[in-house]
């Protein structure tokens, strides 16, 4: 009995000593090519002048530092040509994901919701089914006002659902790939 106990105890101590010297090898850091770090919504005034860029940038993804959000000031009673750009700035060189969305445009749609009266966004592009995508848009303003513009990108929405082709998100469903809110001032 005592002999066996001694053997078991020795085995126990020996294993603890042996194992404390082992180390896990370094992991391979995954290449996060699907990540969108940056959204740039460039609004070029039809009347000419400097384009306004609304941008959302979150380089380190879900954790870490808070995103940098840049709003903008627009003119009253003006028309802008809107152009959407999506980037992965973790990659070097920077990866432009706009084309990836365009390739799958039947599975994607941007939605624009503003709290400013009179501010509206119309689609200027369409997928193979003739449904809007939202990479190219026209933004129009009327009266002055301060508020927000919310841009949402939905993956696999029901693009045939009622109101969705007109830019109403209510019945769209799908999963949200992007949802950002910008402070906008119309003056």
């Amino acid at each position: 009995m005592s002999k066996i106990q001694t053997i078991l105890a020795a085995f126990f101590v020996a294993t603890i000593l042996i194992i404390s010297s082992c180390k896990k090898e370094d992991p391979v850091i995954p290449n996060e090519e699907e990540v969108i770090t940056t959204l740039k919504y460039t609004l070029t005034p039809d009347s000419g002048g400097t384009p306004i860029v609304l941008s959302f940038q979150d380089l380190d993804g879900e954790g870490g530092n808070a995103p940098i959000i840049t709003g903008g000031t627009l003119d009253t009673n003006a028309t802008y040509t809107g152009s959407m750009e999506l980037l992965n700035e973790q990659e070097n060189p920077v990866d432009n994901l706009t084309a990836e969305i365009n390739e799958e445009n039947k599975d994607h749609q941007f939605f624009f919701q503003s709290t400013i009266p009179g501010l509206s966004v119309d689609y200027n592009d369409s997928d193979a089914n003739g449904h809007p995508v939202g990479l190219e848009t026209t933004l129009t303003t009327t009266d002055a006002g301060t508020g927000t513009l919310k841009i949402t990108l939905r993956h696999q929405p029901d693009k045939f659902a009622s109101g969705v082709p007109d830019g109403d998100i209510t019945n769209a469903g799908g999963e949200t790939d992007i949802e950002v809110i910008f402070d906008v001032n119309v003056q």
Partner: protein, 774 residues
């Protein structure tokens, strides 16, 4: 659909009037020791292919009544004795004595379901082979729900993990054939990788400590145990086929075994395929599942002192996750709550499994050798290796849905040396050392930062357990120490990405004390007190990222300390004139530094919108409850069973209830067994048994509104009808089971099912099972 089943049920019931043959034969006698001739009390007897079973009384006498004319195999089981299978041809009432032989391995742990023979002071509940095969349509978590105090924490119907007296996941040890199941239980959406059909017996120990086993030690254990190969030199086996109307599911299980003095073998395989399940009103799109499992068992006796067995099992599954339950952000989640029918619900049934889905492979290889030094001493060595490969697929952009979003490979290796000795004065000692190595690696192909880091963990444990029988008392005392060494390599969340290393050493202690006292032959009292610690798991320390299983961003906490738990249980088991029995278990558990996932006030803004943040925190908690089960035999045919379980848990530091605890529930079971066979044409239905089971699950009121996204669902009533019978076809005996779950086709949602955020639970489901033993 329902009407059709009703007609079928009536069709089965009508022939009741047409019985003729006598089915009230009785088999009685004594069970004796083959060498000494002394009577054996409390030996368990089971009539194969029926649900009949008895336990001999204090004089070794048994009586099995209501048997039909025919041929039977009777299995006799008693601790410390060889399991014996005898063949009986019954023409008339028969009185016969059986002898059983003491196994050389006096100390062998024979699994005995009879409560009186258990070699422990802890409360044990079990599912036998019959109830496992009769419920072949269910997975492990769902199957165990029939035991009072056991629930299932689910994500849809396919992903289900058992909850025993409020403990689950990292706090519940699951043993697959004696080996601690090593899998990736990182969230409530991961279920244990075990095929319950491989087991011939599943036991749930609701106690204070499980010191013999590697694992959490916090009290409760689920043991999945394939039976030893029967000592029968002929090829024997069984086949079981199951069909379910809900999900058009097909399942097939085949078991074959043969005893041979050189090497005995047993093989067990399961195939399952099911499609989209259905609620009363709509299909649950993308909830199909496929499963292919195989187990091989080899046993060899080198001498009457040296035995070796080998066990290999492989479990492979592909599981669809409800398409509408996959969310992008908090807005999507809130949208989902508002809907009657989940997004992406299709009008037609499909077997197709698309993303989101899980693909899991789990393989286990175990070699165990037992050596008897003499009649009283035994030495065991066990070696085991497990490989777990978990891949989870999300709906992704750019054709990446075929690339897993989570892909983890886990190897684990286990070694154990165990020594047991039986001393005079009914003292029994058991001691052992164990080593377990876990090597967990993420596959970088996912293109996503892993939720759980890579790690290497070593656990070395040593334990000593002693038992003593003294007059009417039985005492159990034990202690255990574990040294846990975690070597973790994480990837930083800040840019540039860097490798961060963590080294942890934890000490775990466990000790327990138990006392069982036979007040009379029929009344048994038991008391247990245990103290145990549990080290924080890797996910609790280091997980980071979006976790669909919690609908938010989950953050580990590197400052977590070891949990310390004190638990006490009080049990009472009484049999009243073999007509009634009552089983009660009350428990109270206090856990200091209880680790839980705490919803933070912070809503994290990402480019995908806002997400709730959950962080692992510690508090002091208490969990207490009561399990009650009672049986009453009104007459030979009519039986009534009642199960009730009550549980409550509190966070004592913040003065709020604990989340994810099962709702209280009450189950009533009425069964009627025909004493005479029912004749249909030339065939007869033997042991026709009709059972109605009603379960009422109360609304979970013990939770505050701010602790969850939506209020817990209302209480609901769930009704099951089960009809089972045996039919003799020439030399084979077929067993038919016909079951209807949720007969009333009620729409309900269950608090412990995460899918309740998005969809109703399953509607009516008719299940047909055909099995035969040869």
């Amino acid at each position: 659909m329902f009407n059709r089943f009703l007609t079928l049920s009536i069709f089965i019931l009508i022939p009741v009037l047409a019985f003729s043959q006598n089915c009230s034969l009785t088999l009685s006698g004594h069970i004796k020791d083959a060498n000494t001739g002394s009577s054996i009390e409390y030996a368990e007897m089971q009539v194969e292919s029926t649900n009949k079973g008895v336990v001999t009384d204090s004089t070794g006498f048994f009586q099995i009544s209501n048997l039909c004319k025919g041929e039977y195999h009777i299995i006799i089981n008693y601790i410390g004795y060889e399991t014996k299978k005898v063949f009986v041809k019954l023409v008339d009432n028969l009185t016969i004595d059986f002898t059983i032989e003491q196994s050389v391995n006096k100390l062998d742990e024979v699994v005995v379901t009879a409560k009186k023979a258990t070699k422990t002071t802890q409360k044990v509940a079990s599912l036998n082979h019959q109830s496992i095969t009769d419920n072949a349509d269910e997975n492990l978590g769902n199957m165990l729900k029939s035991i009072a105090g056991v629930s299932a924490l689910k994500t849809g119907n396919g992903i289900s993990k058992p909850v025993v007296n409020g403990l689950y996941g990292n706090r519940l040890t699951i043993l697959n054939n004696g080996i601690t199941q090593s899998g990736q239980q990182w969230g409530n959406d991961h279920s244990p990788e075990i095929d319950p059909l491989v087991a011939n017996n599943i036991r749930v120990i609701k106690g204070t400590s499980s010191l013999e086993y590697l694992g959490s030690n916090l009290g409760n254990v689920v043991l999945i145990e394939p039976k030893k190969i029967d000592k029968d030199p002929h090829l024997h086996g069984s086949t079981n086929y199951t069909f379910e109307t809900n999900g058009l599911s097909n399942g097939l299980n085949v078991q074959l075994q043969k005893y041979n003095p050189n090497i005995s073998w047993k093989i067990n395989g399961t195939l399952k395929k099911s499609g989209d399940k259905k609620t009363p009103n709509y299909y649950l799109t993308n909830t199909g599942a496929e499963e292919v499992n195989l187990a091989l068992q080899l046993e060899k006796a080198f001498s009457h002192k040296l035995f070796t067995d080998l066990y290999f099992s492989t479990f492979n599954t592909e599981l669809g996750v409800l398409r509408g339950s996959h969310i992008g952000n908090l807005t999507d989640l809130e949208d989902a709550f508002q809907r009657d029918t989940p997004f992406f619900t299709k009008d037609e049934f499909s077997y197709t499994i698309n993303a989101p889905k899980q693909k899991v492979n789990h393989h286990l290889l175990k070699i165990h050798t037992k050596y008897f030094l003499d009649e009283t001493q035994q030495f065991n060595v066990t070696l085991a290796a497990q490989f777990d490969n978990r891949k989870e697929f999300d709906v992704r952009r750019g054709g990446r849905s075929d690339i897993p979003a989570l892909s983890i490979q886990q190897f684990s290796y286990f070694a154990e040396a165990k020594y047991q000795e039986h001393f005079n004065h009914q003292i029994h000692l058991k001691t052992g050392v164990q080593l377990n190595i876990i090597d967990n690696t993420n596959n970088p192909q996912t293109g996503i930062l892993p939720l759980i880091p890579d790690y290497l963990s070593y656990e070395t444990g040593i334990y000593l357990i002693g038992t003593k029988k003294l007059n009417k008392s039985f005492f159990e005392i034990g202690t255990r120490y574990d040294n846990v060494n975690q070597n973790v390599v994480a990837i930083s969340r800040s840019l540039p990405r860097e490798i961060v290393r963590y080294d942890n050493i934890f000490h775990k202690l466990g000790t327990s004390l138990g006392w069982r006292y036979s007040i009379t032959d029929d009344v048994l009292f038991s008391y247990n007190l245990g103290f145990a610690t549990r080290n924080p798991a890797i996910n609790e320390l280091y997980s980071f990222g979006l976790h669909q299983g919690v609908s938010g961003i989950e953050e580990g906490n590197i400052n977590l300390q070891t949990e310390k738990s004190l638990k006490t249980t009080l049990g009472l088991n009484a049999n009243i004139k073999t007509k009634a029995s009552v089983d009660v278990l009350a428990y109270y558990q206090k856990v200091n530094d209880y680790i839980y996932l705490d919803p933070q006030e912070e809503i994290r803004l990402t480019i995908r919108g806002a997400f709730p943040v959950f962080e692992y925190k510690q508090t002091n908690a208490e969990i207490f409850g009561l399990d009650f089960s009672g049986k009453y035999h009104i007459n030979k045919s009519l039986k009534v069973k009642l199960n009730y379980s009550f549980i409550k848990g509190n966070d004592l530091r913040n003065n709020v209830p604990l989340i994810n605890l099962p709702s209280n529930n009450i189950g009533t079971n009425v069964s009627y067994e025909f004493t005479k066979p029912i004749i249909i044409g030339k065939k007869q239905l033997d042991n026709l048994n009709i059972e109605l089971f009603d379960q009422y699950v109360f609304e979970q009121k013990n939770i505050l509104p701010e602790q969850d996204f939506v209020a817990p669902p209302k209480g609901y009533n769930f009704l099951i009808l089960k009809i089972a019978s045996n039919i003799q076809f020439r030399k084979t005996r077929l067993r038919f089971t016909f079951k209807i779950n949720n007969i009333l086709n009620v729409s309900y949602r269950d608090y412990l099912n995460r899918q309740r955020y998005f969809a109703d639970d399953l509607g009516i489901n008719a299940i047909l099972g055909i099995g035969f033993i040869f």
